[in-house]
């Protein structure tokens, strides 16, 4: 069960952070932020082999006692971070990949809105609903 979903922009500014009910918001924000370092490592490592088509899904970035952090990056340097409970072992890799793909689709829908300026905070109600459905689906 995903506990936190966040979308981070190209300059590493947060565009959207959703935290599940009753969870420690600040701690999760902090975790998402530290995940950025790991993402940067992974992304620069892949860049050393040019010609290698970069995989968008970055996999498990970081696992602590309480939480597992997964990352996904797009070709436009937008990053998605999903944090789940470490206790929850039922979430398989495929499901996380599916979640990221759906997130990516929802993000492209938001960007297509002519009133949304890329780089702004995401305030779209459709996106909120989509994220709600995404986490509830697990």
């Amino acid at each position: 069960m995903a506990v936190c979903v966040s979308v981070i922009g190209k300059e590493n500014s947060p565009l959207y952070i959703w935290v599940g009910n009753g969870k420690e918001e600040l701690h999760l924000h902090y975790l998402a932020h530290t995940a950025l370092d790991v993402i940067q490592e992974k992304v620069s490592a892949v860049n050393k082999t040019p010609g290698d088509t970069r995989e968008l899904y970055l996999g498990l970035l970081y696992a602590s006692e309480e939480y597992k952090v997964f990352g996904y990056t797009t070709n436009t340097r937008i990053k998605f971070v999903i944090i789940t409970d470490a206790a929850n072992t039922t979430l398989r890799d495929n499901e996380i990949r599916m979640m990221f793909r759906r997130l990516h689709n929802m993000y492209t829908n938001v960007v297509c809105n002519p009133f949304y300026v890329p780089g702004e905070q995401i305030t779209s109600r459709e996106f909120d609903k989509g994220v709600g459905a995404l986490v509830a689906g697990n």
């Binding site: 829908n109 938001v110 297509c112 809105n113 002519p114 009133f115 949304y116 779209s124 109600r125 459709e126």
Partner: protein, 181 residues
């Protein structure tokens, strides 16, 4: 491969998404330029009017619809035109008892595919360009617009749960100018 061969048959066709995005950026730019939502609505209607004046020639040439004998024929032709140009089939309904008013309902609006109106322009009639197209082609008058949902304005008609007037057309004006052969 098959997609490319389809496109080569009619080079004038563009993808629907490109059209939607173009219209979207047009409306966003208009908003930035005019800053006043009513002005934007008026401009969109005027643009629709200009498009309608030109479109009617094209429609007559392509579909050769024939003369309209009454308002129901006109409504049919409008439906046909929507299908031809936008690829959507609106439903015509809510005829007034006198048969001189009706409404055009678009279930899916191709112009507003990904659009969410921001809070500062909730009264923006996003698809006002569609509303502008109708008068020049049929000499009908638009009496009202209805938001189908809170944040999308379409050329739509009545839904029982929304209490507003529907888009209605005056019968008298139809007699002044009908589709001619």
């Amino acid at each position: 491969m098959s997609r490319q061969s389809m496109r080569s048959n009619d080079p004038k066709k563009v993808s629907g998404e490109l059209f939607t995005l173009t219209y979207g950026s047009l409306v966003a730019q208009l908003l930035k330029d005019y800053e006043n939502v009513d002005d934007v609505n008026r401009q969109l209607e005027r643009m629709g009017y200009n498009i309608g004046m030109r479109l009617i020639e094209d429609f007559l040439a392509r579909a050769n619809p024939g003369r309209c004998y009454d308002l129901r024929d006109t409504a049919d032709k409008i439906q046909q035109a929507f299908k031809l140009y936008l690829g959507v089939s609106p439903s015509i309904g809510s005829w007034s008892p006198g048969g001189d008013e009706f409404s055009v309902v678009l279930e899916t609006n191709p112009l507003a595919e990904f659009v969410e109106l921001p809070d500062h322009c909730l009264s923006l009639r996003y698809s006002n360009i569609l509303a502008g197209v109708i008068p020049p082609i049929s000499h009908l008058r638009i009496l009202a617009h209805l938001p189908r949902e809170r944040w999308k304005s379409l050329l739509t008609g009545l839904r029982k749960d929304i209490e507003c007037s529907s888009i209605v057309y005056s019968h008298l004006e139809v007699e002044k100018g009908m589709f001619n052969e």
